[in-house]
Every structure is written in C-alpha cells, then in structure tokens.
C-alpha cells in the first residue's frame, strides 16, 4: 500500500521571538490600554475601590480579552465585513456570560459587589478595540499574545489605582488593615500606637478620586516616557 503523501499547507512556525515578545510587552508601557490608548476607562474607575474587586476584574478581563482575540482571529476569514461588529459583540458577550456564571457560582461576594460592571466588560473598549485593530488581521497565536498583553496591561493599572484608593481610603490592602483606627482587641496595648494616627480619607473611596489617581498616573507615565506627550 503506497503511502499517500499528505500535503501540509505551508505554515509559519510558531515561535517566540523578538516580535512576539513585543506584542506581549508593548501594552504594558508604550501602548498601555488605559494611560495611552484610553480604552476601557469606565470599568477601571468603578471597580477600583478595593484591590480584591480590582483583581477579580483584571482576571476576568484578561480571560475575555485572550479568548475573544483567539476566537475572532480563528474565524476572521469567515466573518462578513458588514456584520463584523455584531459578530464580535456576540463572541464577547458569550465569554462575559461565562465569566458571570463562574463568578456567581464560586465568588458570590465579588459578584454582588461588581454587579453590572461584569456585564460592562462587553462594552469595554479594549476588548473590542483589540479585536478590530489586531485579531481581524492576524493569526490566532499572535492574537493570543496581543490579547494577553493588553489584558495584563489593563490589569496592572487597575491594581495600581486600587492600591492607592484602598490604602488611603480605608487603610487596608486586600481587606487587611494596615493603617487607621486600631482593631478592638488591641486597645490599651502598645501595638495600638502603630495604628491610630491615620484616619481613612473618604474622598479616595468615592468616584472622583479614581480620576485624580489616573490623571497623576498619566502624568508620571508621560514624564517618564516623553515620546507619549500629547503635542496637539
């Protein structure tokens, strides 16, 4: 029996070189979703009152961004141009529904606190923006790297903002008391003097402070990386 020669379609090898690394690291600095591309601000502001919520949100966005990019990229040749927005939105909405159901089952408290903002990942412009700008024109592998990088770039900013807001607003990090009023069991002990001197700044918990923190972050980022400065 003669062997049937299977003609493999010519494929570029999947490798992890300089270009691929750039896809992953670019969104962390030069092309950061929040401070440079200004995408996905809405949810970034609303969920950053505590680091725990921010972490849950960051993981959710990384997941959605990664898989939406891969799926769209795999389907990119069969999506008609006119209805591509709706197709992309349906892909994203499906993934977000998965995230919502998983959170509802395994992290009900976070689910309650994040409420509508889980659903708003659908309209989180980073996901959509990356699908339009990258996944529609590239292979699934590169798209996966791009999605991962952008998700992480977004998550890092989220955690930084949440750190400042939670630390100065409530004196806590991940819900653990660091500064502020001393806990009950320490009153009248030497340890209580470590706390006491700081009173939580309620403004930091409110929405406007998220704006201020991001404004200062943008300032710092652009001062450090002058090629990003807006010259218009």
């Amino acid at each position: 029996m003669a062997d049937v020669a299977v003609v493999e379609p010519k494929k570029e090898a999947i490798k992890f070189g300089k270009k691929e690394r750039a896809l992953l690291t670019d969104p962390l600095d030069d092309n950061n979703p929040i401070t440079v591309q200004v995408l996905g601000i809405c949810s970034a502001l609303a969920v950053t009152t505590g680091m725990k919520n921010a972490a849950v949100m960051a993981v959710a966005v990384v997941f959605v961004c990664l898989f939406a990019n891969v799926i769209t990229s795999a389907l990119r040749k069969s999506i008609p141009k006119q209805v591509r927005m709706i197709v992309q939105l349906v892909i994203i909405a499906t993934l977000v529904t998965v995230v919502e159901l998983v959170l509802k089952a395994y992290a009900f408290e976070s689910y309650k606190q994040l409420s509508v903002f889980i659903g708003l990942i659908i309209t989180n412009c980073i996901v959509m923006g990356r699908l339009e700008a990258f996944a529609m024109g590239n292979r699934p592998y590169e798209s996966a790297l791009d999605g991962l990088g952008n998700g992480i770039g977004y998550g890092i900013i989220l955690l930084i903002v949440a750190f400042f807001r939670e630390f100065f607003g409530k004196g806590e990090i991940f819900g653990v008391k660091i500064i502020g009023a001393a806990p009950e069991y320490m009153i009248n002990t030497l340890e209580s003097t470590w706390f006491g001197w700081y009173a939580g700044n309620n403004l930091m918990v409110l929405f406007p402070s998220a704006m201020f923190v991001i404004a200062v972050l943008i300032w710092a980022h652009r001062a450090w990386n002058p090629k990003l400065v807006d010259i218009s």
Binding site: F207, V229, S232
Partner: protein, 201 residues
Amino acid sequence: MGDLVNIFIKSAFIENLALAYFLGMCSYLAVSKTVKTAFGLGLAVIFVLGITMPINWVINTWLLGENGVFQTDLTFLRFILFIAVIASMVQLVEMVVEKYSPSLYNSLGIFLPLITVNCAILGGSLFMVSKEYNFSEAVAFGLGGGFGWFLAIIAIAAIREKIKYSAVPPAMRGLGMAFLLTGMMGMAFMGLMGIDPAAFK
C-alpha cells in the same frame, strides 16, 4: 407622573451616568475636544438610550423573565440579547437617519457606530434591570440618563476648549488634564446628591 419626573431628574443629575457612575468614559474623553462634535455625540446618545431602553425592557420582561413567553428563567441570555439589540438598533437608526435627514447624518455620522460600544447604553439597560423599573419608568430613566450624559460631555468639551490657552505642564497636556477636570466635575456633581427627589413629587 410625578414619579417619572422624579426618575428623570434623578437619572439626569443625581445619578448622572457619566459623572456619578463614570460610564461611557472612552468616547466621553475621546470626542470632547470641541463642543460641536460633543454636541453631536450627546444627541446621538440621548436618541439611542431613549430607543433601546424600552426595547430591552420588553425583551427582559416578556422574553427572558419567568412569567414571559417561555415560562423559564432565561436571564443568562441577557447580555447577548441586550448587546444584539443595541448593535442592531444603532445600525437601524443609522440607516433611517441617513435616508431621511442627510444633514443630521452628516453631523452624527461617525458617532453612531461608536455608540454601540458606549458603556452608558448597555450600563443604562443593566441598571434598569437591577433597579426593577416598570415600562414608563424605564423610558424616563433612558431619556434622563441620556440627557445627563449629553450635559456632561458638553460641559467638559467647553472647558477643554478654553484650557487649550493655559500653560499646562507638557506631560499633563490633553488626556491628563481631561481626567483631572472630569474628577473635579464629578466632585461638583456630588453636591447634587443633597437634592431630595421627593420634592418633585
């Protein structure tokens, strides 16, 4: 009726979608460089919010609810259906406006597709669900929310036009300043929380 006015005022000023919940920030920051374009986008948002809110209410209650057509709880399909409604409504509105009012289409043109991914639209619908409004309340909430968003984007665009003439540190120019200003406007709007909506009854 008093209730509806109450909800309108509340959603436009006290619970302003842009300045109290920070929804729709992406287009809010991107399109607020001049008052003229901000005006167009604001109008389009009022329009689309006012249309999609009642439709989504009907879908949520009659299709997905337990007492709806299918007699089962289908709320897990909510996101997909809501976003499909919004995307197709935006497409429809775009086609209608293009056909009947080319001048309006030319001024709104590029902003209409942008609205699909404006979180204020989907967020409005999701808030409507979580607040358990009835049909007329949903309409009032949609219009009020849209109006509040419109006011907010016009206000920031006006400030940004003026601030061009100030000496802002280079790294803070443009985006950084827009963030700071929005934060301050948000603080100003927090002052409105003191209004007692019951006074409008």
